[in-house]
């Protein structure tokens, strides 16, 4: 991670010396979200944010935290079932966008006879299998290589809290994301969470009080963009209030 941030606006040209240099000259440069390549040599930005680079992966991307979620392959998402057609459920990831398909057999040990019966508005924790701008995205609840659920599947009980997409990415990126509020709360509380890249956090604490406390604590960390110390303070306050 670079310490000094380069803030870019759409249309800015990235100087060649701002791009990562890999030790292996054969490794191609990977451009992530927000960057586009105009042949032959120019690399420009398309969204506003902070330029981030990773010299190990030889990758560059723009870090941003606003806008609508657009599905991309292998993202973890929380989908809402809207209806069931002959062989698949139609689900939504964000409001007012075309539905994504979740095949009836894309659950662990599902067969034609024994598949989960999901009502409308049921929540599913799933992974995006394919997403391109020209096809309808497809999601699944099994790991295609092992056939196991790997923690994916219908979400029962609990409650969903809207969080920013940046927060979802922080929560899913582990230590790098710098979120310790959940670890802090789990010392005294028992709860389950699922983080969807589409800006959703599902929390089940067994009872309403715990669920709300956890969800609100994460939302506060999100809106205040709190660091380590700020998060510890939130944890202390929440645990004292319970």
């Amino acid at each position: 991670m670079t310490s000094a941030q380069t803030i870019v606006l759409p249309g800015d040209t990235i100087a060649p010396n701002a791009l990562p240099t890999s030790a292996n000259p054969n490794k191609p440069l990977t451009l992530g979200p927000g960057l586009r390549h105009i042949p032959p040599q120019t690399i420009t930005t398309t969204i506003a944010g902070a330029l981030s680079t990773d010299s190990k992966k030889n990758a560059a991307w723009i870090e941003y935290n606003s806008g609508r979620y657009t599905p991309s392959t292998s993202d973890l998402v929380i989908a809402t079932v809207t209806n069931s057609v002959s062989e698949a459920y139609s689900c939504t990831l964000t409001p007012y966008t075309p539905t994504v398909t979740l095949p009836h057999l894309a659950f662990e040990s599902a067969t034609r006879k024994t598949r989960p019966q999901l009502a409308n508005h049921a929540l599913v924790y799933a992974r995006v299998v394919s997403a391109s701008r020209d096809t309808a995205p497809e999601i699944t609840c099994i790991d295609p290589s092992t056939g196991k659920s790997e923690g994916l599947g219908p979400l029962k009980g609990g409650m969903v809290f809207p969080i920013s997409m940046g927060m979802a990415r922080r929560l899913l990126s582990g230590r790098k994301g710098g979120v310790n509020v959940l670890e802090g709360l789990s010392e005294r509380l028992a709860f389950e969470v699922a983080v969807g890249r589409n800006g959703m956090l599902w929390v089940d604490g067994g009872n309403v009080r715990t669920t709300l406390a956890v969800g609100r604590a994460v939302q506060e960390v999100d809106t205040e963009a709190l660091g380590d110390k700020g998060q510890s303070k939130v944890v202390d306050r929440v645990l004292r209030g319970l």
Partner: protein, 246 residues
């Protein structure tokens, strides 16, 4: 009065911005990419819908005209091919007008031009698009230029200046420029000659775009591009402060 802007004041919209300058205040919201109605669907690019709401009353032909101008300008800066068969909806609500403009139309016979409101609308739309992280090929900054009958060029005149000199202003021009100094929009009104238009265009370009390197003068009025950058830097800094926060 320096222009002021705020990004993402509305939390339900995908992106939003408020902007006020020269007595005009506009709030804008962007939603997208969302599902498009079959009728408006374009097979290989995103459809762009612009709604302009006036400060008072319902929109009329004047707002439809502004909408078509803004739509055709934004179409060139949004990378519409990145989200085919979707809709990007831009809603702009004028929240306040300068005193001079809101008091005309009371029978004094003087009708206020629709051009002075165009630069704030365009700037708000750009800020809201930035806030919604819609892929753009460039950012846009716009300004109003007035040419008096005496041939004097006034950049970004206030409404009071326009009304006071209403008999003397011979033409009004709106120019919008990209980062790369490309002219994106030129709308003119009134009597003028090509030479005057050209010099007005040059004045607008200086007001919108970053001055050529090495020619920067301290204490100069902040230009349009620098203003946008400042606003975005504030926003990104706020979002990323967890990285540096203790």
């Amino acid at each position: 009065m320096a222009p002021q802007a705020l990004l993402s004041p509305l939390h339900q919209a995908d992106g939003s911005a408020t902007y006020s300058a020269n007595g005009y205040s506009v709030i804008g919201a962007v939603n997208g990419p969302v599902e498009v109605s079959r009728r408006d669907e374009l097979p290989e690019e995103a459809a762009i819908e612009v709604n302009v709401r006036p400060a008072a009353g319902v929109g009329g032909p004047r707002e439809r005209h502004l909408e078509s101008l803004i739509q055709s300008t934004l179409r060139h800066i949004i990378l519409t091919r990145a989200h085919p068969r979707t809709l990007i909806q831009v809603t702009l609500q004028v929240t306040s007008l300068p005193e001079e403009e809101s008091s005309v139309g009371d029978g004094s016979g003087f009708s206020f031009s629709s051009l002075p409101v165009l630069p704030p609308l365009l700037t708000t739309a750009t800020l809201a698009l930035l806030s919604a992280s819609i892929p753009l090929s460039t950012t846009l900054s716009a300004t109003l230029v007035a040419i008096t009958a005496a041939g004097k060029i006034k950049c970004a005149p206030t409404a009071a200046e326009l009304v006071r000199a209403s008999a003397k202003v011979s033409s009004l021009h709106v120019f919008a420029f990209s980062v790369g100094r490309a002219l994106l929009l030129a709308e003119s009104e009134g009597d003028f000659e090509f030479g005057a238009w050209e010099s007005a265009c040059e004045v607008a370009e200086d007001a919108c775009c970053k001055s050529v390197e090495g020619m920067e003068v301290d204490g100069e009025v902040e230009n349009g591009q620098e203003f946008l950058r400042g606003v975005v830097e504030g926003k990104v800094g706020r979002e990323m402060r967890w990285r540096t926060a203790a």
